[in-house]
Symmetry: C2
């Protein structure tokens, strides 16, 4: 007996934070019947944020109807939000997909496609302040579900998100087995994964590095027709 | 002022469990001065375990001397252990590298290259029983350091491993900032990341799926000149 195919798609574009994508991919690929579609405009490899090119295996035009569609985040979101090829693909797929999802700032691309209107959702901690502008009801949590919309927080939250939706799709015993095979029993050597618990000097250093990125991001939001804060 | 270059290399081969590689890559790429080398025999994209091809950015021959060399695991380890191009590259790099490292079953490739003789080290939980045969002193832990050799456990342990070595290389404040930027405050939805804490039915199902893999793996160990158990 074979499992019924379950079509999982990731939306790829240049400048993805690769772990936003590769963490959930590792989990979801192990679902029974999983068919993984890595969709982009073309089949050309795409630069990620950390030296690894990402290779699509299908195009937006060729991709079949997906059961689950997931958008990763990263600095490339600035352009992806304003790219009608990306948002159009998302809108069209979302009409018949069972689940619509994002990790990290990929949530803003969902928002730009009009898929977060009135939906409780999460994103990377540094971007929560601008999240309502794309229609979301921001929730500071690692994984948020609102009906068919599942969102994960920043980067590594994608693993928790993926196990959550894996259980929804295939049952908890399947999710447990995947978690065991991936030895996901995290033991961070430091307790600095949220802005509330790091020393002020570390927080201010990270904030300083994000500042120019956030300025460019808000400009992209404006270009995409939204009204972010000016701070 | 710019940071001094710090050369980080990952050894790529077909059949890597991609998160073994992409988790640490996401962390280590953010080290000050990081230069990332994704080295393989050729520049051709390599199939991973989950539908994503991995694209090298250098070859074993062209790769400069590395400061840190890391070997990911996966089912491709069976062939990598027996591949003199892989083990030869590791041996040559290890002579002058500051740190030699692995994630998951990548530890067996280090072992096959003679780099774990008498070293305390860890690997994926399902493979600990055969670990001593390649010379390691097996330690059941998520991250193990023995001098210049750092090893991580199965798959997701690579993130904890990478933050540990990031602090060693660049200081804890740098590791804290990286952890914050990646929002690594894990909250697994289930407590099934180790074999000790899953229901027996889940454990036995995973064991049954691993059984043929382990049989092939032990055959590969024998081919590589080691003496695994027969169980």
């Amino acid at each position: 007996m074979t499992d019924a195919p379950f079509h999982i798609g990731f939306v790829l574009f240049p400048g993805i934070t690769q772990l936003d994508f590769t963490g959930p991919l590792q989990v979801l690929h192990r679902l029974p019947g999983a068919r993984v579609h890595l969709a982009s405009k073309t089949l050309d490899p795409l630069p990620s944020d950390c030296g690894l090119d990402l290779v699509p295996n299908t195009t937006f035009d060729a991709c079949p109807q997906l059961d689950l569609i997931c958008v990763p985040g990263g600095f490339g979101v600035d352009d992806a939000m304003r790219d009608a090829a990306v948002t159009g693909f998302l809108k069209a797929q979302a009409e018949a997909a069972r689940y619509v999802a994002s990790v990290c700032t990929g949530a803003f691309v969902l928002g730009a496609a009009g898929l977060l209107a009135g939906k409780r959702a999460t994103t990377h901690w540094a971007y929560h302040g601008d999240f309502a502008t794309v229609g979301a009801v921001p929730v500071k949590a690692r994984v948020v579900r609102d009906g068919a919309v599942f969102t994960g927080g920043g980067v590594t939250a994608g693993i928790d998100f993926a196990l959550t939706i894996a259980a929804e799709i295939a049952g908890e015993d399947v999710a447990w087995a995947i978690q065991l095979s991936l030895e996901y029993d995290p033991a961070p050597p430091f307790d600095s994964g949220t802005p509330d618990r790091v020393p002020e000097t570390v927080r201010s250093g990270v904030d300083a590095r994000y500042a120019p990125r956030l300025a460019a991001f808000r400009e992209a939001l404006r270009d995409a027709g939204f009204s972010p804060s000016d701070s």
